[in-house]
């Protein structure tokens, strides 16, 4: 008989009440709510283990994760794309080839001393690295997803994901997977650490310095990009500083840059003069300025609200926001005391917090795998393609403002994509799958033409050279310094030859065993599936339709009769549950 866990939100009088939940109110349902919000959900067995700890120890186990081992995490294994000659990679292809024309070499590659297309190797090299870092970043995202799935410290990964969207940079501009990896390590290290320290680390982080144009922020000619975003998006929120504060803040950060993966200050480019910033005057540098920012009461409220909205629910009253800000400020920006207070509070278990959070796409996919009891992120469907379809591309947030989150995750198109990703995990298209990492897209045709014996001029012609006369084809070959179109293709090839392939296996699932252990009839099976996967109450119509569906598919209401063939019908049942409106919320 399936054990239907009751949907049990606390009373509305708990709304905005930060006093601790009475121990008598702790239950399996409350533990499931806690794991869904402070982690990425789990199996009924994992939820039961958390429930057995009692409220205080359950919250402690999530927040003070450093006290327990995390045995399954493995470091990222690089494909081996990087070498030091790629340091100072040019911003654009023209810059790369101009350098080579001026000096005879660029990015560790020499120009040819004679012959046609002398600069071609440099142009190829430029595209090689563009492709290589993009492909490797996909592997970094996949590796991170596996950490989220396999960690015993789910709150650590969830908070790292928050900081990645908060201090947002994207590989598409940074163009260096190593800097993105370095950033993930930073966000994990400070996931629940001190926010002032984290902000300083971020301001000195190479990916961020490059992303917000720090190289152009120099004494006498400050560039305001970082200074503005550090106040508007990272700490205080718009409206709490003046345009003059932005300009003075930019001066304080002048000369800050990096040397490969290390922070570096160029003293000659730093403006050491006095600055007037947020009502204070002094010869401030970036650390001083951040110190002043963190003295502002609005900073604590801004950051506490961000954490609360990310973990609990979108709706946040001004009164609760002020209380949360005070908690963070009183803890000197240590995050753990704030998290403990939130996760212990009556407010967190009140009706407003049940179903008030729309899962982010990465959260949707990883928590789906956790609920299914799968122990590795499958290779089919591709992790990145799946989350991109749902509106979230790890390591490539859409802008410095990160992902909007909340209701912005749900549009008709994105909602449909969520159901489709569930289908592709449960019933993957193994024979139809094509690995996008080994696909040059529109450049594919160039490879075919070269292998068919066309020269570079013909291969890169707009019209199909196979349909031209021999005379016309020969005329296509021309003298040129380089051909960027062929470089695009060669870049794909050179990168793909080094790329470590992603294993393309399906999720290891045995729903038949899972369900049979908890149900004897199709009605019980549906009730078990609903209680295992949904945090929100399903409609009676949905439940009835699923029971009818499963019974019809199996040709019987007895699971024992159907046990040898019921796997796909059960997978479709779960797919339908994951396509409901209720499944998108926790």
């Amino acid at each position: 008989m399936a054990d239907i866990k009751r949907f049990a939100p606390g009373p509305t009088v708990w709304h905005d009440d930060l006093s601790p939940l009475p121990r008598s109110e702790w239950s399996y349902d409350r533990a499931a709510h806690l794991l869904a919000h402070a982690g990425l959900g789990g199996t009924p067995e994992e939820i039961q283990a958390l429930a057995d700890l009692g409220l205080e120890r359950a919250v402690q186990s999530l927040v003070h994760y450093e006290r327990t081992q995390n045995p399954r995490l493995t470091p990222f294994v690089e494909s081996g794309f990087w070498d030091p000659s790629l340091d100072g990679f040019p911003d654009s292809r023209p810059e790369a080839t101009d350098r080579a024309e001026a000096s005879g070499a660029s990015m560790g590659v020499a120009a040819k001393p004679a012959g046609n297309r002398p600069i071609q190797p440099i142009s190829d090299r430029f595209f090689y690295w563009l492709r290589a870092t993009m492909l490797e970043t996909r592997r970094v995202g996949y590796w991170w997803a596996n950490r989220m799935l396999q960690t015993t410290h789910p709150l650590e990964e969830k908070m790292a994901l928050l900081w990645h969207g908060h201090f947002a940079t994207h590989e598409n501009k940074v163009r260096d997977y190593r800097k993105m990896l370095q950033q993930i390590a930073l966000f994990e290290l400070y996931a629940t650490g001190n926010l002032r320290d984290l902000a300083i680390e971020v301001a000195q982080n190479p990916a961020m310095l490059y992303f917000l144009d720090a190289q152009y922020n120099v004494k006498g000619a400050p560039n305001e990009n970082f200074a503005r975003e550090v106040m508007e998006l990272f700490t205080m929120g718009v409206g709490n500083y003046t345009e003059k504060d932005v300009r003075e803040c930019a001066r304080a950060f002048t000369g800050w840059y990096f040397d490969d993966l290390a922070f570096n200050v160029d003293a000659a480019k730093h403006d050491a003069g006095a600055k007037e910033f947020l009502g204070r005057t002094g010869a401030f540098d970036g650390v001083d300025v951040l110190g002043i920012i963190f003295e502002q009461p609005v900073t604590a409220e801004f950051l506490a609200a961000k954490i609360y909205r990310f973990l609990v629910r979108d709706e946040l009253s001004p009164a609760l926001r002020a209380k949360l800000g005070a908690l963070l400020r009183d803890a000197h920006y240590e995050v753990k005391p704030l998290l403990t207070a939130i996760l212990m509070s009556k407010d967190f278990y009140s009706a407003a917090s049940y179903g008030g959070h729309i899962k982010a796409p990465v959260e949707h996919l990883v928590s789906m795998l956790k609920q299914l009891g799968v122990d590795a992120v499958p290779g089919v469907p591709d992790f990145n393609q799946s989350t991109i379809a749902m509106g979230q591309h790890l390591l490539n947030p859409p802008s410095v403002a990160g992902w909007a989150g909340g209701k912005a995750w749900i549009t008709p198109g994105l909602l449909i994509a969520r159901g489709n990703v569930a289908r592709d995990v449960l019933l993957p298209d193994m024979t139809g799958f094509r690995d996008w990492n080994f696909n040059a897209g529109s450049d594919d045709v160039l490879g075919q033409r070269l292998r068919d014996g066309f020269d570079i001029g013909a291969a890169t012609a707009v019209n199909d050279p196979a349909k031209m006369s021999e005379f016309d084809r020969v005329a296509l070959e021309r003298d040129e310094k380089f051909n960027t179109r062929i470089s695009g293709y060669i870049g794909w090839e050179q990168a793909a030859r080094k790329l470590i392939p992603t294993p393309r296996d399906a999720a290891k699932l045995d729903l038949s065993a899972l369900v049979a252990a908890n149900a004897a009839t199709t009605t019980e099976a549906v009730d078990y599936v609903l209680s295992r996967f949904l945090r929100m109450p399903p409609s009676n119509a949905m439940r009835a339709a699923l029971i009818e569906f499963l019974t019809k598919e199996l040709g019987t209401d007895s699971l024992d009769r159907a046990k040898t063939y019921m796997e796909d019908a059960l997978r479709m049942t779960v797919h339908l549950v994951m396509s409901t409106a209720e499944y998108q919320l926790v």
Binding site: V246, G356, I410, G413, A545, A581
Partner: protein
């Protein structure tokens, strides 16, 4: 004030006709679906007066001074000694202004009398933040806010009870604040082919059950339920319309995301308000701005020109007005990185056969700069909105905007 029902066919009716015609319900029709769209197209043809607004948003902060260039003002070159564009490199407008050379497509439309250039558009106490300033434009509430966007509120004014489905289409990865509406679920998508619920045949009958819960436990739940219902209906018809559009791969047409708008208009969609934010914008030109700005302007101008060629082909050029704006212009003096920083007033464009071509609004002075070397805006952006809402769509702009704004008069009487 009321608005005519453009096509005489409501979305619900369209779906009913289509579903009946296919005999498959909403879930069928995976092949071509001409019955749905054929009916609608005929209805449109019978009453071709439906007026459509297409907003083409240039996020990133377009440099208006290097788009419509005041070459006749020596101060322009004083502020921009390096990135200022010389007269021979411009396409002529008049003795003072010239188009950036990438704006060839726009120049053609302007010379045909179909483009209103609106100068000095902005608002008091401007924000220099991309996101804040754009949110002011989206809500039409500068230094304030509104839960709903100006396009969403226009929809409420046109159709107060929310009886018409798919009144708003938003070609975007995620919903733009401008289209957020009290009674309408905007149709948001980028790739029509991916806009499809993948269900196996046995699963199809359960699709209505996915959103059957009629007791939502809160605001987020209610929202997701509404979108689930609308997704089931809308995805089918969008894909059908896109499937019918025959000029997708035409090399002469580089429409950016405006191709989806063409496809839906050609298919006779009941949509009155289209909102298309530019994706992958290069307009935030802090550094070495010439190359990316040249490229971005050309992409945009070519797309607009191609869009109106398509409207002429399907006989709807007189029914569509396009509006182009950014969240701000850029600072008047160039910066030391051969780029420009965030600024204030900007130039806007309104395009269409119904537009009285010419220049509107007072060009801001390059001598009297404000707020740290910035243009003083001369035209509140809500005057442009009011003209579009009132003179073009025939709705009550004062109700939508919360106050009266004088029309700029760029719509032909």
């Amino acid at each position: 004030m009321t608005i005519e029902n453009d096509s005489g066919v409501s979305r619900r009716e369209l779906l009913r006709i289509g579903a009946g015609g296919l005999g498959l319900g909403l879930l069928g029709g995976l092949g071509s679906v001409p019955p749905v769209l054929g009916q609608a197209s005929r209805a449109v043809a019978a009453n071709p007066t439906g007026k459509i607004l297409v907003v083409f948003e240039w996020f990133g902060g377009n440099d208006g001074l290097n788009t419509v260039v005041p070459y006749g003002d020596p101060l322009y070159y004083k502020h921009r000694p390096t990135i200022g564009i010389k007269e021979p490199d411009l396409l002529p407008i008049d003795a003072h202004f010239g188009w950036h050379k990438s704006m060839r497509g726009m120049k053609g439309l302007y010379d045909d009398g179909k483009v209103a250039i609106v100068h000095g558009v902005g608002y008091d106490r401007p924000s220099f933040s991309h996101f804040t300033s754009m949110s002011f434009w989206h809500t039409a509430a500068p230094n304030g806010g509104n839960e709903y966007g100006w396009v969403g509120r226009t929809a409420s004014s046109v159709d107060p009870k929310g009886a018409r489905d798919n009144l708003i289409v938003n070609v975007s990865d995620s919903q733009t604040l401008a289209v957020k509406a009290q009674h309408h679920v905007p149709l948001v998508f980028v790739d029509p082919a991916a806009f499809k619920r993948g269900l196996f045949a046995q699963e199809l009958p359960l699709v209505d059950a996915l959103s059957a819960q009629d007791m939502p436990v809160g605001d987020a739940h209610r929202y997701v339920l509404e979108v689930t219902k609308s997704a089931a209906q809308a995805s089918e018809v969008v894909r059908a319309a896109w499937g019918e559009y025959r000029r997708k791969a035409n090399p002469d047409l580089r429409l950016l995301d405006l191709d989806k708008v063409v496809a839906l208009i050609e298919a006779g969609f009941p949509t009155k308000l289209y909102y298309v934010p530019l994706r992958g914008s290069l307009f935030d030109t802090h550094v070495n701005q010439a190359a990316p700005h040249d490229r971005q302007l050309q992409y945009c101008a070519d797309a607009i020109e191609g869009f109106f060629r398509e409207m002429a082909r399907i006989g709807r050029a007189g029914d569509v007005v396009m509006y182009v704006h950014s969240e701000f212009g850029r600072r008047v003096p160039e910066n030391t990185s051969l780029g420009t920083d965030h600024g204030t007033a900007q130039v806007n464009f309104v395009i269409g056969d119904a537009v009285q071509g010419g220049q509107y609004g007072k060009p801001p002075s390059l001598a009297d700069l404000v707020l740290g070397d910035n243009l003083a805006s001369t035209t509140d952006f809500r005057r442009v909105y009011a003209t579009l809402i009132g003179d073009w769509l025939g709705a009550d702009a004062a109700v939508v905007l919360g106050q009266r704004f004088e029309s700029l008069g760029f719509i032909k009487a």
